[in-house]
């Protein structure tokens, strides 16, 4: 699969999260998170399951309603009750763990339905844009297929193309490779890497430490609803300072080594 890195120019936006809180009933899963992502920056969120990293990501485009704090996305105050959420979400692409492609639509329709219905693009224009993004993810010939005719890796690549077809300024990835067969993980990661190199602002929840180390500008380690440690990717992963980070990375990087 050959992908031209700078095939599509990206108009990147930043994110600024301050004092973000989120509870489910009495269970507080985010306990005041501060996080700043600069335009064009790639930040990976890592941490054990239940640490709140997916919830944090889902708060950024308000799929989860925060209980406190503010989220600024590219100048939008997402937590302001008066803000037009649909307008903000047009600029924030999201890729889900379970792909969530629309099974009743073809691959091309998956990528054009929102541009046509939401951005009111002309069908032919939307198809042209969608096709260029499908080519970018190496699936230019797959426009007429249905999602259930594709492998998991191909489906996730379509999901990325679908999000890109809205021409977002920020991309959120919620464990994009966790539901994939091991041999298809690479094709998705390499597309994400290309996207990062093209200058897209990316916030990525992932367990792929090699990817985080290589692609991310910064890594944020979360545990128990707080940011425990953050910094330059190679330093957080290569030389963690906090005991909880050290413990987590030891388990992830060397699964056979367990202190019992």
């Amino acid at each position: 699969m050959s992908t031209d890195t700078n095939q599509i120019s990206v108009n990147a936006a930043g994110v600024e999260i301050t004092g973000l809180r989120k509870s489910y009933g009495s269970n507080e899963v985010l306990k005041g998170i501060d996080l700043k992502v600069k335009p064009g920056e790639v930040v990976c969120l890592i941490g054990p399951s239940g640490s709140g990293k997916s919830t944090l990501l889902r708060c950024v485009n308000l799929l989860e309603q925060p209980n406190g704090g503010t989220i600024m996305v590219g100048g939008f105050d997402a937590t302001n009750v008066d803000v037009n959420l649909d307008q903000m979400r047009q600029k924030v692409g999201m890729v889900f763990q379970q792909f969530n492609l629309f099974p009743h639509l073809t691959v091309l329709e998956n990528c054009t339905v929102a541009p046509i219905k939401v951005l009111k693009r002309k069908k032919l224009d939307a198809q042209k844009v969608a096709h260029s993004h499908l080519e970018r993810v190496g699936l230019g010939d797959f426009g007429g297929r249905y999602p259930d005719q594709l492998s998991g890796g191909q489906q996730q690549r379509v999901a990325i193309a679908r999000a890109l077809s809205m021409e977002p300024t920020l991309m959120l990835f919620d464990e994009p490779t966790s539901a994939l067969d091991p041999e298809t993980v690479g094709e998705v990661l390499s597309i994400m890497k290309n996207l990062a190199q093209a200058g897209m602002t990316m916030l990525v929840v992932t367990h792929e430490m090699a990817f985080a180390k290589e692609v991310a500008d910064r890594v944020v380690f979360m545990d128990g609803g707080v940011v425990v440690e953050e910094g330059i990717a190679s330093e957080v992963i290569g030389n963690p300072q906090q005991p909880r980070t050290q413990d987590f990375l030891r388990r992830v990087l060397d699964p056979t080594h367990v202190d019992i």
């Binding site: 979400r89 047009q90 692409g93 629309f102 929102a114």
Partner: protein, 263 residues
């Protein structure tokens, strides 16, 4: 003497055959076949029923079914959406409506529309209109429940993906969720049409002009006007099967296709 399993199975089969043949023989002996044949199979005397039975009766039965179903589907979709709404009073209203019209006999609704509406509101439209309204209303309650199940069977991730692309809630519903829900409910929905087809037979109790007769009315008139016993009803029944059996086959085809692919 102990029997092996296969011996026992053979014995039980023999007994079943003996009982079956015995019942047939008893029926043949008891029943007066000339009378029975007159009552059920006097097809030769049905000449006057045709071609109106088909040109008027079959046509009207199908027409009433289609209009009532279209009305029931539209109302049922609204009720299903109300029932899944986040605003509680909407849900209460939908639940009350559905429980009411599912819980009372269709014939009561039909009578209320046929005789009650003209009395209460002075409506003067023809009775078949009342029939289609009443049956549509009743079927909307069943359709609503079927659709609600279908809407809820569409994974939540579908709505999330649609919303994350900037679609407003109604757009996500119309473009993403409802089309998938309809595919899920196609087989049970075909069932609803079959039930509705049969329920149009209740129309005769409201009375109507000749051009508005459906098949059961023709069958009933046939009993009193023709010297053919119950045969006109047998014929009406056969014509219902002409409509419902193909529908069943279609439903089964949908089901097997749905089993093969998730699409």
């Amino acid at each position: 003497m102990a029997m092996t399993t296969s011996q026992r199975a053979r014995t039980s089969k023999t007994i079943q055959i003996v009982v079956f043949v015995g019942i047939i023989i008893a029926l043949i002996a008891i029943i007066d076949w000339d009378k029975a044949a007159y009552a059920f199979f006097s097809f030769d005397k049905l000449g006057p029923m045709f071609p109106d039975m088909i040109l008027v009766g079959l046509k009207n039965t199908i027409f009433y079914t289609i209009i009532a179903f279209a009305f029931g589907l539209a109302l049922g979709l609204i009720l299903a959406l109300l029932k899944t709404a986040s605003f509680a009073p909407y849900r209460w209203f939908a639940t009350a409506f559905i429980e009411f019209f599912r819980g009372i006999p269709a014939i009561l609704v039909l009578l209320a529309f046929g005789f009650g509406l003209p009395q209460a509101f002075g409506t003067t439209w023809p009775q078949p209109v009342n029939v289609m309204f009443a049956l549509g209303l009743v079927s909307s309650a069943y359709i609503a429940e079927t659709l609600r199940a279908g809407l809820q069977a569409v994974p939540k991730g579908q709505t999330e993906a649609a919303r994350s692309l900037g679609m407003p809630a109604w757009r996500a519903m119309v473009t993403i969720v409802i089309p998938q829900a309809f595919k899920i409910v196609l087989p049970p929905m075909t069932n609803e049409i079959i039930l509705l087809t049969k329920d149009t037979s209740l129309a005769f109790i409201l009375g109507a002009a000749m051009a508005q007769y459906e098949m059961t009315k023709f069958g009933r008139d046939g009993i009193s006007q023709l010297d053919a016993g119950l045969t006109p009803l047998v014929v009406a029944g056969l014509f219902y099967l002409v409509i419902t059996i193909p529908l069943s086959l279609v439903a089964r085809k949908f089901e097997s296709r749905a089993a093969k692919t998730k699409r």
